[in-house]
């Protein structure tokens, strides 16, 4: 049986993501307001129970001056006075770190119910947006000057994985196919209306940065989500089946990707080891995995690093359909950033929301029958900082 490292049974008691898409009239704060409006419209929440609030800097990916006081802006607007609150940023890992910090705050008695929120926009890749993002994640003097570009920086891992393990172009493409099949089951997934895709569709799409073509890349959009981590008894008063935080691991590896110590193992191994150790669980106990997937390479590498699939076998895993609907270990059951949508600075929310919804039994058409234990992995910057969460149905 599992043994949580946390006291007071911290659990995700409520989780809502707004439909990904373009919200042209919404500025950065309006995106947060849209998320919060949807969240409190959906869940029966008494404001007086919420004594924690974690937010990300609003406008991080698009504004010249992101709001580094988002937590205060929101607390005032919501009329709450938290005992535990901050604005924090770790790129895509921001929200995994929020869940972990919220669980520790609940465990240590700093707060009883912590609202975690993020909303974002993915800048238009043409017209300078891609360049601005490349500058943000590259060393400005020793990478950016070489025409570094986000797809190419990820491609460095893919190429090395192909070299070391014989991972094939088709195997990479099969990740996009698997994610699209899941997206067809999610009412809000951006690519649902586009129908299924084949490996040939992926390989024949426009080349971007070898080995990636267009369909190996996630779909830029706007969006956001919120969740609450609360003490067990509060969580159970909000929902019949909360998603208990059983383990959480954090690890920070390299900075600029050129300094990665191993291009096929970026730091997820250590965050996952810590998460499993805390939970008293092992990879074989996991029923569903939600893995940050900016590109098709990511789920292959992080399934291997988290121990869910042996090193070098991630490509075959997807090609055999084992992560797809009906497969032995469902992966990215909402369509992933590849087919649900990549909401820019809020993207690290999507896999947490889906992992929680699966454990809570709220996955609708795409619900996994036995989602007792979910693993959620997210990372920030160029796969530099890692968050692994393990969620479960029993505290």
């Amino acid at each position: 049986m599992s043994r949580s490292p946390f006291d007071h049974e911290p659990a995700i008691a409520a989780a809502t993501e707004i439909p990904p898409g373009r919200y042209p009239e919404f500025d950065a704060l309006n995106m947060y307001e849209a998320v919060m409006r949807a969240f409190i419209g959906k869940w029966p929440l008494d404001p007086s129970i919420v004594d924690g609030l974690l937010a990300a800097p609003a406008g991080m990916a698009v504004a010249k001056t992101p709001d580094i006081f988002t937590h205060e802006t929101l607390a005032d607007s919501l009329g709450i006075h938290p005992t535990f609150s901050e604005t924090l940023n770790a790129g895509g890992a921001t929200y995994g770190f929020m869940a972990q910090r919220a669980a520790w705050a609940v465990s240590n008695g700093l707060a009883k119910a912590v609202l975690c929120i993020g909303a974002g926009k993915f800048p238009k890749v043409g017209g300078g947006g891609g360049e601005a993002m490349a500058r943000m994640v590259s060393h400005p003097d020793f990478e950016f000057i070489y025409g570094s570009f986000i797809p190419a920086l990820y491609a460095l891992s893919a190429r090395r994985h192909m070299h070391e393990y014989g991972t094939t172009r088709e195997q990479l493409a099969s990740v996009a196919v698997s994610s699209r099949d899941w997206a067809l089951l999610h009412p809000d997934a951006l690519m649902r209306s586009k129908g299924p895709i084949t490996i040939a569709d992926v390989i024949n799409s426009r080349p971007i940065a070898e080995p990636f073509n267009l369909l190996d890349c996630s779909i830029p959009c706007d969006g956001g989500a919120a969740f609450i981590v609360a003490r067990g008894e509060i969580a159970r008063s909000i929902t019949a089946q909360p998603a208990y935080l059983l383990g959480a691991g954090e690890y920070h590896d390299h900075g600029p990707v050129s300094q990665a110590r191993d291009f096929t193992s970026m730091g997820a191994r250590e965050s996952a080891r810590r998460a499993f150790q805390g939970a008293g669980l092992k990879p074989a106990d996991v029923h569903v995995a939600e893995i940050y997937d900016a590109f098709t390479m990511n789920p292959i590498m992080f399934l291997e690093e988290t121990g869910l699939v042996p090193a070098g076998r991630g490509g075959a895993f997807f090609l055999e359909g084992r992560g797809a609907p009906g497969g032995s270990l469902p992966v990215n059951t909402y369509g992933g950033l590849l087919s649900f949508g990549h909401t820019g600075d809020a993207s690290g929310m999507s896999m947490i929301i889906e992992g929680a919804l699966q454990v809570m039994g709220l996955g609708g058409e795409r619900q996994i029958a036995d989602a007792d234990i979910a693993l959620v992995h997210s990372y920030g910057n160029m796969m530099s900082e890692h968050s692994t969460l393990i969620l479960g149905r029993k505290p």
Binding site: G128, G130, E131, A134, H139, P140, D141, F142, E143, F144, I145, Y146, G147, S148, F149, P151, A152, L153, A155, L156, S157, A158, R159, R160, H163, R206, P207, I208, A209, E210, P211, F212, P256, V257, S258, Q259, A260, F263
Partner: protein, 137 residues
């Protein structure tokens, strides 16, 4: 056409860029633990000594991984595509990113030996780049 980006030259990187202007490739070395360091910085990441020295590097390395870029990230690279972004391990130890110049993309491979060459940029800058080391042409 928009020129390619230039580095910010600061107090801790100036020797590197000044040497590059004269087509010399320099690395930092720690006086205490003797390890070579790239990218330049005011301390040794291995032992936190602040006693560093500049040394001429041999300028040879081997490609760890690479990508052939087809979609330019900005206007400055439109005329470059397809171009190669690579990370190589330098013979002195550290890893470094640069473009590999003067090779057909189809001939790129992990393990390719490279040598440092210099690319002229605006304002008299010269930027260290990789070129295949086995070619004599």
């Amino acid at each position: 056409m928009k020129p390619k980006p230039l580095p910010h030259v600061g107090p801790f990187t100036r020797p590197y860029w000044d040497a590059a202007r004269e087509s010399r490739f320099m690395l930092q070395r720690c006086r205490r633990c003797r390890q070579a360091i790239y990218y330049p910085r005011p301390w040794c990441p291995h032992c936190w000594s602040t006693e560093l020295e500049w040394m001429p590097a041999c300028g040879r390395g081997q490609v760890i991984t690479y990508s052939v870029i087809h979609e330019p990230p900005s206007e400055a690279f439109v005329s470059e595509v397809p171009y190669i972004l690579a990370v190589a391990r330098l013979e002195e130890g550290p890893q470094m990113m640069a473009n590999v110049l003067g090779i057909e993309p189809a001939r790129m491979r992990v393990g390719l030996p490279v040598r440092i060459v210099f690319e002229e940029r605006s304002g008299g800058f010269r930027v260290p780049q990789f070129a295949p080391a086995e070619e004599s042409t």
